[in-house]
């Protein structure tokens, strides 16, 4: 009898139960024999099968697979617009000067040790991160109503928060925008939450489907969790205006919907750390509760160091302290305590006035380069007379642009012009430079005019 196939997408409880039944029905199932000899045993040497021989290969990650394909391409004009990592005008990854400085300070300090951090991470880092997102004068911080725990970048912060919610919150549904970062649904599903969606992107306008958003959130059961991108929505680059944020806030508070912010681009979107935190601060200002996942991957260029924080804003300090103790129980069996290196770099920078200022300048330079790429691309398309309204390129914000190109057009651009992007038409502006904008504009033009 053929063993059932397992892929990551088919590991539903039903599938698993079926597979158990199938194995028990199999006539040669080794586990049914009680006094077997060596040859029938599942793990006995090279004679038997591995207990994991039924495992099939998982599909390539759709985002990371783009880089894999790009690397294989020998063309000299190839362009990688898939990766969500900042590149310089020369197309190189960037380590911020202030980060290098901080690293050197750490290396040279012989008094530093590599001991375990506490379960909740580096205390200084946690405090500074909370101040960064909520504002130095945030009443929630002053009243000790915020608990912040260091986690593994944005992904880790979302996962720890979601696991906590699945254990302690009365509602198991989380509403995520459509579309959203591909990893979001996986994180929440694995945590034990049930994922639902709310309308967000309007392909017709390439902007926000605000009516749809309000309707969907309005019809969500009271108390549901709602995932919000704090700024620079990934993948669309479409953000609500402040007026729209206020309406969202009122609606959510009136229905007691719990906000869970994913803040991966603070400072990177507009160039201003405070402006990019506005949505979060509005929700905190009304005294209500919320979750915030922060990442330093992009805005400090610390990608591989996995630095992030989860903050939970509570009604009272007492509750915040209890919540923190329960967050520790989520963290301990996951990774015990977080990695020290990246958090030390962040803390070194944030607590030093000069280094902080240096950082804001370097951050603004990155954001400005992206904004100028947007303008250049828009101008280039206009100059070519490419049909269609391309103003969304300069209206959208952050690292990504949702071009509106369909998957055939994307495939065409890859084939003919060696341009690599995700098949949903998302391009990473960070991967563009003044030199390569014309090539991209040509490709888009050809795709749009050459195909129906």
């Amino acid at each position: 009898m053929r063993r059932p196939e397992f892929t990551s997408s088919s590991s539903s409880p039903t599938d698993r139960r079926l597979s158990v039944l199938v194995r028990h029905l199999a006539t040669s199932s080794p586990v049914m024999d009680s006094q077997t000899t060596v040859t029938f045993s599942p793990t006995s040497g090279f004679h038997g099968d591995s207990v994991f021989s039924h495992v099939v290969r998982a599909p390539e990650d759709p985002i990371l697979g783009v880089t894999v394909a790009y690397n294989k391409d020998p063309s000299p004009v190839k362009l990688n617009l898939g990766v969500g990592a900042y590149r310089t005008e020369e197309g190189k990854p960037l380590v911020l000067n202030v980060v290098r400085k901080a690293e050197q300070m750490l290396v040279n300090d012989r008094s530093r040790v590599k001991e375990y951090l506490p379960i909740v991470g580096l205390a200084e880092f946690n405090k500074l991160s909370a101040k960064l997102i909520f504002g130095a004068d945030s009443p929630a911080i002053r009243e000790n109503r915020v608990t912040t725990v260091q986690c593994l970048s944005g992904t880790g912060s979302l996962r720890v928060g979601a696991e906590f919610l699945a254990r302690h919150y009365h509602q198991r549904s989380i509403y995520i925008p459509q579309p959203t970062w591909g990893n979001h649904p996986k994180i929440f599903t694995l945590s034990g939450l049930s994922v639902k969606t709310y309308r967000y992107y309007d392909p017709a306008t390439r902007g926000l489907n605000f009516q749809g958003l309000l309707e969907d959130l309005g019809s969500a059961p009271s108390g549901s969790i709602v995932l919000l991108h704090a700024c620079a929505h990934n993948p669309t680059g479409v953000d609500p205006t402040l007026e729209q944020w206020e309406q969202i806030r009122q609606l959510m508070r009136s229905k007691a919907l719990l906000p869970f912010f994913d803040s991966a681009y603070q400072g990177f979107a507009s160039g201003s750390l405070d402006a990019d935190a506005m949505s979060v601060r509005m929700f905190v200002a009304d005294g209500g509760e919320c979750f915030v996942a922060q990442s330093y991957a992009k805005n400090m260029g610390l990608y591989g160091e996995r630095v992030g924080a989860l903050s939970v804003v509570c009604k009272t300090a007492d509750v915040a302290s209890k919540v923190e103790s329960q967050l520790k129980l989520v963290i301990r069996p996951m990774f015990s305590n977080p990695p020290i290196h990246g958090a030390s770099i962040v803390a070194t920078i944030l607590k030093d006035r000069n280094m902080y200022n240096e950082w804001t300048i370097e951050l603004k330079a990155m954001a400005d380069r992206i904004i100028s790429m947007r303008q250049k691309l828009f101008d280039a398309l206009r100059a070519r007379g490419t049909p269609g309204d391309w103003s969304h390129i300069i209206k959208q914000i952050g690292m990504f642009t949702f071009t509106g190109l369909n998957s055939e057009q994307v495939a065409f651009m890859t084939r003919e012009y060696h341009i690599y992007m995700t098949s949903d038409g998302r391009i990473s502006m960070a991967g563009l430079s003044s030199k390569t904008v014309p090539h991209l504009a040509d490709a888009i033009h050809a795709a749009v005019t050459g195909m129906s």
């Binding site: 397992f6 990551s8 590991s11 698993r16 080794p30 045993s41 599942p42 793990t43 090279f46 004679h47 591995s50 207990v51 994991f52 495992v55 998982a58 990371l64 690293e103 290396v107 040790v113 375990y116 951090l117 506490p118 379960i119 504002g135 004068d137 009443p139 002053r142 593994l152 996962r159 996986k186 599903t189 694995l190 108390g223 402040l242 007026e243 206020e246 309406q247 719990l258 405070d274 601060r281 200002a285 009304d286 005294g287 260029g301 591989g304 939970v312 509570c314 509750v319 209890k322 919540v323 520790k328 989520v330 301990r332 069996p333 015990s336 305590n337 977080p338 990695p339 290196h341 990246g342």
Partner: protein, 502 residues
Amino acid sequence: MKQNKRSNCNLQGNETNLRDKIVISRKQYQIQRRKRSNKTSEHPHAFQDHFNKLLGGIRFADFPYMSIPTLTSTFVGGEMAIRRAMSGRTAVVGARSMSSWWRSVEPAPKDPILGVTEAFLADPNPDKVNVGVGAYRDDNGKPVVLECVREAERRIAGHLNMEYLPMGGSVKMVEETLKLAYGVNSELIKDKRIAAVQALSGTGACRLFADFQKRFRPDSQIYIPVPTWANHHNIWRDAHVPQKTYHYYHPESRGLDFAAMMDDIKNAPNGSFFLLHACAHNPTGVDPSEEQWREISHEFKVKGHFAFFDMAYQGFASGDPERDAKSIRIFLEDGHYFGIAQSYAKNMGLYGQRVGCLSVLCEDEKQAVAVKSQLQQLARPMYSNPPVHGALIVSTILSDPDLKKVWLKEVKVMADRIIGMRTALRGNLEKLGSPLSWQHITNQIGMFCYSGLTPEQVDRLTNEFHIYMTRNGRISMAGVTTGNVEYLATAIHEVTKSASTC
């Protein structure tokens, strides 16, 4: 009209009272109110300033539609407007939910191991001794950063970027790590039969395996030795894998209860999953002998059991990494497919860097590719990809023969110091004329000694002598120094001399 409990709004008051009583941010505003008590009529924009601060300095005028600015803009307009606002909707301050969503969240119990260090740090007594922490200390009681690590960090800093690692982590680091566990010239590595990913130290490797076990062998359970590192139970519980236990420690002899352990192995259903400590069992320090490992391996073959090794102390136990991997090599010889969690926390002193590796031995390269891809699928929604810094340190050291030699020497120094402290502690106790047998101190191996002290005796050690250890009587030998070993022996003697058994 809904009474907003959080506001002290008294609508019968005059304008000044009303302004005083509006509570948006209760404490903050109260502080400011007291300051402004005589000046309220001169500060029509006081509220606005207050909110400017709340919002981190963003100018108010930018947001005409916020309900809070609505309140204050009407405030600026006049108090009558405020009465209107307050009397109507209470849309402002967390209006609907008067209390927290987390009110019913219970405070979690303190971690039994990490709580010991907290208590130690809080103790002002100058003679205090911390033998609770599972982290190496030198003979001055100080944490150590290995020289090979310092050198590796010097080479790394300033030269490499911080791009994302692949989901499976640093390929180079994983390769070197497999050589340590499976042997430098292992055919299995050459044949690419090992599915391996970088993990978040030992904890992360165990957790990833537990999640993998749940997903692909959902009907399985895990057999865990008694006792074991407390977090093992948490890990498999959070992965929703049911747990059973097997006999391990023999309190009377303070050694291995081999007969009972073999019974449990024989009585478990065929094809059960077992957690084994590869060397330097935590917390007991009691390891099977080589002959016993061979018997265990044979019985596993008969029963078709799956062995999952937690190897957190390779090199740290005997001083020789090859010797410490003996149990794994025996299982390799016998042809098992098994899994290993490896950690560099102790043997490279990289505790806070969280560097480790999970490997699963497979039938062939194709299966290894499949298993690795599935492990990555589990890592992606947990942390996407593992931290790069610690992995770079490891691969820098292990791929440079000279640096690797330095590391091996430093590991031996650490292990030897611990072995020396074991001898010293036992010697001191015997010199004091203790009626009890302390043989187990030198029989046991690795960082920990399962002293046999009862919780009450441990409490006495803490309260009377300021000696901190976990209440199961586990002593971290790493915390013992030539400076405190006599004091420790004296204290232990004190609390045990009247006991006939310990």
